[in-house]
Subunit: 124 residues, 2 copies
DNA sequence: CAGCATCCAGTACGATACTG
DNA sequence: CAGTATCGTACTGGATGCTG
């Protein structure tokens, strides 16, 4: 029973959370996971659906998500080859856990923007 | 009323959330904010308290948090100069919004680790 | 003490070309 | 179609030294 009402937790938890944020705070992980909510998608589908992503980053990010068990990869032995990516249950719970942050971002976005403008203005 | 039960939201929300994650997913922001939960701290106090942070990154990260309005900076016109950093109300609500993610990280950490090992092992 | 400027290594990312 | 390899660039973060 600690006095902490905020999720700072012990040092170990902090380290984990920081690593998690770094891991997931890259350019494309979140977009891809969000994109896959609608159901499985193929490589090229994703490439077209996600605006601005490069071939290379799509491969890399999918690999990384697959490695962590958030996304599953299914290859069908056909010609031409077909590979489908889908959200795993783990990936779905992950998206759910973001709710708090997403809501906070929506709620405070204007306020943060305001702070930034003011700060930048004051600095000459 | 959309079919989305997960916080993927519209494209605008997605972009905001991604930017938020990037902004906050750097090496030190989260550690600093967590550290300040206990109350205001001085520059050198933070430098000592946060293990591994460099002088430069402390300045930079504090600036950036101040800019976003998550942290307040109070300079006392004394000699030697004294500056105290504290969490703003906005900063506190931010920490609160992380609860879901922190819990998810704790709950699934072992599972994710397991996935990684297995993945790395399979890749010969 | 608090903060800034400079320099440097590591990495993230994009463009492109090539393989099964 | 899906994936790998190579290259160039831009940014991030650490070490260090200077200023008020």
């Amino acid at each position: 029973m600690e006095r902490t009402s905020t999720p700072c937790g012990d040092e170990r938890t902090q380290r984990h959370t920081r690593q998690l944020l770094r891991r997931v705070g890259d350019t494309w992980s979140l977009v891809l996971v969000s994109q896959l909510v609608g159901g499985p998608m193929r490589f090229t589908e994703l490439l077209r659906a996600v605006d601005g992503i490069s071939h290379r980053m799509l491969t890399q990010t999918l690999r990384s998500l697959e490695r962590d068990g958030l996304v599953s990869r299914t290859a069908y032995p056909e010609t031409p080859p077909r590979v489908e990516y889908a959200l795993t249950p783990l990936g779905q719970t992950f998206l759910g856990s973001l709710t708090g942050l997403v809501v906070w971002g929506e709620d405070t976005q204007a306020e943060v923007e305001e702070h930034r403008s003011r700060f930048d203005a004051d600095r000459h």
